[in-house]
């Protein structure tokens, strides 16, 4: 098992390298002259040339990449010109806030999605199944950014149960209950779509598993229906659902871009939106790279969990 994890980690290295190449190339393909973009259209040619030299833009693409990745290994992602601080500092600070939000959502959608999927499969064609199927369909059809606004209207403005925005109260906050208070609405909103997707897949996976011969064997042994479903069938279904949860992590992190904007959560998503509007491309680059790397590592984690569940994969 340990050997497998090491192998899997090693296999992730080329993927991570590929990510750096893609991120670097996307930024290198920016139309127009970055120096002019930074200095404005009234800059003198000398100033543009100097900035180009300072930025290393007079070198070949390959040289630029080597320098860039070298700096990357030293933890240097450049300096954000709008914030005037190192990109890495800003990105890591923002990323921790996103992790709290997206992580909570991922836990929520896994729990609710799996439960709803199991109930739906076990009560197939019953009213619970129909209700869940309809809710799932509504959930995956609802724009999350709009749902966030509606929840703010209901729970923050009308009922005054939860704060409308931010991560901590401005005065007297900062502890865990305060965080949870602020986290509830955005985390719920963010988890809706992924819950629907996971519920759907769990339902299908359970229905497929419940037809298997080894489920008949479990019943022939005299096991209670609870054990048949929650131990024998669920474990098999989980093997198929875990990678989907891994993929959903990507959608949840992506969806965080909307939710962080709606709830003014100080995460990497809202940072990216601002950075794109202000054309702070180094900040965009750093943000995209860190999030993509985290996503690769998370999928790796999902693979390992899947392998732990299924001995045939080892």
């Amino acid at each position: 098992m340990a050997a497998y994890i090491v192998r899997r980690l090693l296999a992730a290295i080329p993927v991570l390298f590929g990510l750096t190449i893609i991120v670097f190339l996307i930024m290198a393909m920016i139309p127009g002259d970055p120096a002019t973009a930074i200095l404005g259209s009234y800059a003198t040619p000398e100033n543009v040339a100097k900035l180009n030299r300072d930025l290393g833009l007079d070198k070949t693409l390959f040289e630029q990449y080597v320098i860039w990745i070298g700096n990357l290994f030293q933890g240097d992602l450049g300096r954000s010109y709008t914030l005037n601080r190192p990109v890495l500092d800003e990105v890591l600070e923002r990323f921790s806030a996103t992790l709290i939000l997206a992580g909570t959502s991922l836990v929520l959608c896994s729990i609710f999605g799996l439960l709803a999927g199991i109930v739906s499969a076990v009560r197939q064609y019953g009213w619970a199944d129909k209700a869940i199927t309809l809710l799932v369909l509504i959930g995956i059809s609802t724009p999350s950014f709009w749902l966030g606004l509606i929840l703010i209207l209901i729970f923050a403005v009308n009922l005054r149960l939860f704060p409308a925005s931010g991560m901590y109260a401005i005065y007297g906050g900062g502890d865990l209950p305060d965080l949870i208070h602020h986290l509830t609405l955005p985390a719920l909103t963010l988890s809706v779509v992924a819950t629907g997707v996971i519920a759907r897949l769990t339902r299908t996976a359970m229905l497929e598993v419940l037809r298997q011969d080894y489920i008949r064997t479990a019943r022939a042994k005299g096991l209670s229906e609870r054990k048949v479903i929650y131990k024998h069938a669920f474990k098999s279904a989980l093997v198929g659902v875990v990678p989907v949860i891994g993929i959903q992590a990507g959608f949840v992190i992506g969806g965080a871009v909307y939710i962080e904007t709606v709830f003014q959560w100080p995460g990497i998503g809202s940072m990216l939106v601002t950075a794109i509007s202000t054309r702070d491309l180094l900040l965009v680059q750093g943000g995209v790279l860190v999030v993509a790397a985290a996503y690769v590592l998370f999928n790796l984690f999902a693979d390992v969990v899947q392998t732990l569940l299924d001995p045939r994969l080892r």
């Binding site: 403005v157 011969d213 019943r219």
Partner: protein, 644 residues
């Protein structure tokens, strides 16, 4: 979890039945509703220039933020006094156009990549798919954001970004299908006839792939509308004065607290649009999905439904531990009823081995499964008769009691030990579970018992094998584990459903010897299901031959083997090769067994029987017992001199 199996007293529950016409209709009506809404939205959006709408871009500061149902402004106005209804319809037009364009672009390039990768294979395939994998290694929306960051905010750039990040979905789906198709005969034929790869790809393969492309489009178009709206919402898509639903929502958000309707309305429109697309797409998929049509995604309940109707339940005959009386099991599939077991009588005494022999489809396995309610419902049900275990009607006892008997008094060994053992649990865990379910032992005692059982079925180094997973054992070893599991609780009756069929011949004889020995040591009764008379002669005291769901001949094994009376039995015996008689003809029986949903009158075997006469094809032919144990269901039996 309550069991949904029911006895005769309980009204049959219909909720867990297979999707009937009604359910399909309901699904369809949802889909139809979705289609209706979608078409309505599209028509209104298309007709926008013709409708008597206010100009969506004309500002009127005097009329700003009018509520819904205001005079002249059905949906009110926004912060610049623009008519919301008009903006909504024009915005929908933009959102629809952008979403559809993105879908078509993604479908075109994605399918092209998939077709080329799948058809070319080799290095081309590897390069393309590695690239696709790299793109998919990014969180979906993040990549779109990065692209917008580079191209700059704008509706067209958002469209390109969303299309680009959706290309992998198409490429992957289409590559898979193309890969399968490019190995098919008609593609080989086209290649041999000298057509160029491009011709083959676009003339031969593309038409076959088109449905998959369309289905993938229908599942992604909703997403793409949502995502482009999302980018506009963030201010990265449509730029003022141009407006789509997303950017309307984004502008409305700034005045959420004072005029919620400005953001609520466009959001509802996005929801209605995406929901109607998803409803329609799901409905179409459900109708097309072969698994749903065949009912193979229908959940079987814990116990076979018993619907014996008003007919009196036959009383026990009083013979043997297991006493099956006129048992009938049916399957209801696609509106027609298959009578898999059509009235079977069996009895099994202590220490006795009864063989049930027949071709596949003769109902022998269903007979075995019916006894303990293991036939999947839906679609199966016990339609009549009874099975008595020590005088107790197994079809009438409670669910709790049947669970106690399953694996306790009555244990099963199934055909393919690879699929009947749970692949994710060690054999030790599965064995211990079988013991622990029926015996109140400590975990140390359970483990000790498990090791005993494994050595009883002659598995070498049993202690170490407890930690093995089924896939780590050979087929013979796996079947031994299954037998050990069946023996875990000293079963009175062992039901073995083709336990040796999946094994090779030497292992087969080892397993037979093992079962025979265990039967003698423990005085357990065995019901042995097989299609092989060779196996029957090795282990069974008595034999019952089944055909089309009924017993056609029964008797002591040696007698039946020596002088079969039913022509079908005779044919089956002829199928067994005998060592040292190479000249013996191995006749497969001509023709096929009848389908049991529409059995002919008279003898079911008549169509394949060389001795059939007209009277064989009418009425019901009874099983005539010539002695206590010997009987045949034939008007003109063979070899009757000795026994009559």
């Amino acid at each position: 979890m309550t069991d949904t199996a029911h006895t005769t007293e309980v009204k049959p529950r219909r909720t867990s039945a297979r999707p009937g016409t009604l359910a399909l209709l309901l699904n369809n009506s949802l889909a139809t509703g979705g289609l209706f809404v979608l078409v309505a939205i599209c028509l209104i959006a298309l007709a926008a220039p013709l409708l008597p709408l206010a100009n969506p871009d004309v500002t009127a500061p005097a009329n700003r933020l009018l509520p819904v149902f205001s005079d002249g402004h059905l949906m009110g106005t926004d912060h610049l006094g623009r008519d919301l209804l008009s903006r909504l319809i024009w915005g929908t037009r933009v959102s629809l156009a952008v979403g559809l364009s993105a879908t078509f672009i993604a479908a075109f390039f994605g399918s092209l990549l998939g077709l080329v990768a799948g058809y070319a294979g080799g290095r081309v395939d590897t390069v393309i798919m590695r690239g696709i994998d790299m793109v998919m290694a990014f969180p979906y929306i993040l990549l779109a954001l990065a692209i917008v960051a580079v191209l700059g905010p704008g509706l067209l750039n958002a469209l390109y970004a969303i299309a680009l990040v959706n290309i992998p979905f198409f490429a992957r789906n289409i590559r898979g299908i193309t890969l399968g198709l490019s190995r098919r005969e008609f593609v080989d034929a086209a290649r041999l006839s000298g057509k160029s790869p491009a011709q083959i790809l676009f003339i031969e393969i593309l038409p076959n792939v088109l449905p998959v492309i369309v289905i993938t489009m229908s599942t992604t178009v909703g997403w793409m509308i949502l995502e482009t709206a999302g980018l506009s919402f963030l201010g990265l898509g449509a730029q003022p004065p141009q407006a789509d639903l997303g950017s309307m929502l984004g502008e409305g958000r700034k005045i959420l607290f004072t005029a919620p309707h400005v953001s609520v309305i466009p959001g509802l429109m996005i929801f209605a649009l995406v929901m109607s697309i998803n409803l329609f797409g799901d409905g179409v998929r459900d109708v097309l999905d072969p698994r749903l049509r065949a009912g193979s995604l229908t959940r079987p309940v814990a116990r076979t439904a018993v619907e014996r109707g008003d007919a009196p339940v036959p009383p026990p005959s009083g013979k043997g531990v297991l006493d099956v009386r006129d048992m009938r099991t049916e399957f209801e599939i696609g509106g027609s009823v298959y009578k898999a077991v059509g009235g079977v009588d069996l009895n099994l005494a202590e220490g006795e081995c009864l063989g049930i022999v027949g071709e596949s489809g003769s109902g022998k396995s269903v007979t075995a499964m019916s006894i303990m309610g293991l036939v999947p419902t839906p679609p199966g049900r016990i339609a009549g008769g009874a099975a008595y275990l020590d005088g107790e009607d197994l079809f009438a006892v409670s669910d709790r009691h049947i669970r106690k008997l399953r694996g306790g008094a009555v244990a099963y060994v199934f055909q393919d030990p690879l699929s009947t053992l749970h692949p994710l649990f060690t054999v030790g865990d599965q064995l211990k579970e079988a013991i622990g379910t029926h015996q109140p032992l400590s975990s140390a005692e359970v483990k000790k018992r498990a090791i005993e059982l494994l050595s009883l079925v002659r598995i070498p180094s049993p202690k170490e094998r407890l930690a093995a997973y089924p896939h780590e054992l050979s087929g013979g070893m796996r079947q031994r584990v299954c037998i050990a599991m069946a023996l875990a609780n000293d079963a009175k009756v062992l039901i073995a459903d083709e336990p040796t069929t999946a094994l090779d011949v030497t292992v087969q004889s080892q397993i037979l010897t093992l079962m025979n020995g265990l039967r003698r040591d423990r005085n357990a009764a065995i019901l042995f299901i097989t299609h092989d008379f060779g196996v029957v002669s090795a282990i069974c005291d008595r034999v019952a031959v089944m055909y089309a769901g009924r017993i056609v001949e029964t008797g002591r094994t040696d007698e039946v083997l020596a002088s079969p009376q039913h022509p079908y039995t005779a044919k089956l015996i002829e199928c067994v090769p005998v060592l040292g008689e190479p000249e013996r003809r191995l006749d497969a029986i001509e023709g096929r067994p009848p389908v049991v949903n529409n059995l002919p009158d008279g003898c079911a075997f008549a169509d394949r029987c060389p001795r059939a006469r007209p009277e064989c094809r009418s009425g019901d032919i009874a099983l005539v017992m010539s002695s206590e144990e010997r009987g045949v269901r034939c008007l003109y039996p063979l070899n009757t001199e000795g026994t009559a």
